[in-house]
């Protein structure tokens, strides 16, 4: 099983990953519709924090319509046609990267592990790797 990993200390907050993500998920240039998040902590201490999906599956477990499924890469994704925007998935996400914004999209969205964010990150923040067992 694979997931996305982020090393926040290397992030420079450029948001290329967010645009690449929205292009994959929605075929749109719109970083507000990305499935990962960059939190900027400025002016103090002056660091970025990257939040990514760990593919823990909590969202799929609570989805009442079964709209969150696993793709060929083993990643959980939202089947847009089956999502009812009930938002049950949002509060259970431990990383706050399960998104419902009805004004922007008619379905919830999350990381489907396409890898496009990794491809455009110039500072090697992101990588896809095997899910490591918790210590």
């Amino acid at each position: 099983m694979l997931r996305l990993y982020a090393e926040s200390a290397k992030c420079s907050g450029c948001r290329a990953c967010l645009v690449a993500c929205s292009l994959n998920l929605f075929q749109e240039n719109n970083p507000k519709k990305a499935a990962l998040a960059i939190l900027a902590h400025f002016p103090t201490p002056g660091t970025y924090e990257v939040k990514v999906c760990t593919q823990c599956g909590e969202c799929a477990a609570v989805c009442p319509t079964g709209a969150i499924k696993q793709n060929a890469r083993g990643a959980y994704y939202v089947d847009f046609a089956e999502c009812t925007l009930c938002e049950a998935c949002v509060p259970v996400c431990p990383e706050n990267v399960m998104f419902v914004r009805a004004e922007l999209a008619p379905a919830a969205w999350k990381c489907d592990l396409c890898g496009d964010c990794v491809a455009v990150c110039g500072t090697d923040v992101l990588r896809i790797g095997e899910i490591e067992a918790k210590a």
Binding site: K10, S12, G13, C14, R15, A16, V19, A20, S22, L23, F26, Q27, E28, N29, N30, P31, K32, K33, L39, A40, F42, P43, T44, P45, G46, T47, Y48, E103, L104, A119, V120, C121, G122, T123
Partner: protein
Amino acid sequence: MNGYGGNILRVNLTTGKIAKEPTPPELARDFLGGRGFGAYFLFQEVPQGADPLGPENKLIISSGPLSGLLIPGAGKCDFACKSPLTGGYAGASLGGHLTAEIKYAGLDSIILEGISPKPVYLFIDDDRIELRDAASLWGKGAITVEKALKDQLGEEFQIACVGPGAENGVRYAHINHDYGRQAGRGGVGTVMGAKKVKALAIRGTRAIPVADLDAYRRAARNLYDACKQSELLKPWQNLGTTMVVSWCDEVGALPTRNFSAGSFEGGKTLYGPVMREQIVVTDKGCFGCPSPCGKYSRTKRYGTNVEGPEYETIGMIGSNLGIANIEDVAQINFLCDEWGVDTISAGGAIAWAMECYEKGILTKAETGGLDLKFGNVEAVLTLIPQIAKREGLGALLAEGTRRAARALGKGSEKFAIEVKGMEQSAYATHSATAMLLAYMTADVGAHHNRAWAITYDLQVGRELVNADKVARVIWLQHIRPMFDTLGACRLQWVELNIDLELYPPALAAITGVERSWRDLELVSERIWNLTRMYWVREVPGFGRAWDMPPQRFYAEPPKTGVTAGKITSLDDVNKLLDLYYEQRGWDANGLPKPETLKRLGLDKLVA
């Protein structure tokens, strides 16, 4: 319109009227965006003879067709207005994330007109656009205000704001964004302050349309792949622009004590690796940038955070003021950011005052008791707020070096290091003729952004004066500002050496219009001639004399450093201008010839 936000937003601050109009397709065709839109609206709409600080001047804020898209460094925003520093064209470039948000809000340019009766900030949340009261923000520092607005409105809003320097009419006040990125030069912040606009706060949630999505995604990937494969990426990420501090020191280009020399005996303590080790906390990039030049720092001595200092600031308020400690430079940088003044012009003005003081032209009575010797950190820390508040000696320095020298007289004009009234940025040009010409002819005054030719001088012979060298400067003046027109950063090309030919396929896929670099250079030449004609229109008697460099660069060879004893002759300065005017299709006085304007399709516009 593919690649564009699609609308021009006009905000009349006098009446409070807010209106959108569709971005004219012919404007996009002939001027592309960014700097092109700024120059066009300025020339077309601001009446001749307008007071830069009056209601007739406009502040034009423009994104470009690449802004906000998946293009390396697509975060460049252009600010244009009539300059309160020079009286001519001001065009300042801002990095960060503002320009992307302008596009996501469905806009290409925001034009601020008139003067608000009270302090306001412009609030834009997609279609909800309001002028909001800014009484509680007025008088506060730029970094403080950005934080306050983010806390109030949320992190998704991008903020651009001015500090007290702009409110008080310092002629080189800047506009701050993203905690330390600035539209720095020419007093664009001064104009925003004069309009009583403390800040812009923008959020957009719309997608930017593109003509060919698949071709765009392929072209974008090719650009990112080229950046990531460049062997120059890692060293650049490590040091950013501070990479050139040591190089400039070694080749005699590091401004030292008001440009009296090009090498600094204390330079080594300002070098990039020293700064990285001592104060850098985080790398900080503009929108979509794989090669972040921003270095965010924290000083131990002062306990303050600041983006930078980057190279220009290290040169202008480090070596040029005789200051050799990177923490001191960072603290002065922080004060300039918070108080809202351009580090380059502030450094230039203070260096001039220090030279005046050391030569006895400025007395201790006139400095308000400050012992204004080169290297006096405490004096500079005191002066920055004084400039922003126009108190004491600060009132004189807030006027900019040219006006200050004219007011003081006593021969101090000779060491006012400026062209067209703008303080020269951080390359000493005693013995670097291409860079000298770049400063002489840059369309905002002595700024390096239009043509960074100093490495070329070293490559082909620094004293050489010939047609090829002049042609190189003109080529740079077309290619580099094109990035500010497209709304993306040039540094992936300049510093990572990626192929320029990777851009036209991306631009074509985005806009649906095929353009070669030859086509883009023609647009750049059109803009260059339009800004030239703006100077001609606004400044009585404008001509060759305005392109002359400070006397120091043809009459006063440095006494120390690797350029000791070296200087370009006045004959060579004139030869540079003759060749430049000839190649540009301008007359001997530096005015564009009618046939040049006609060839560029400007004849009707400037008539």
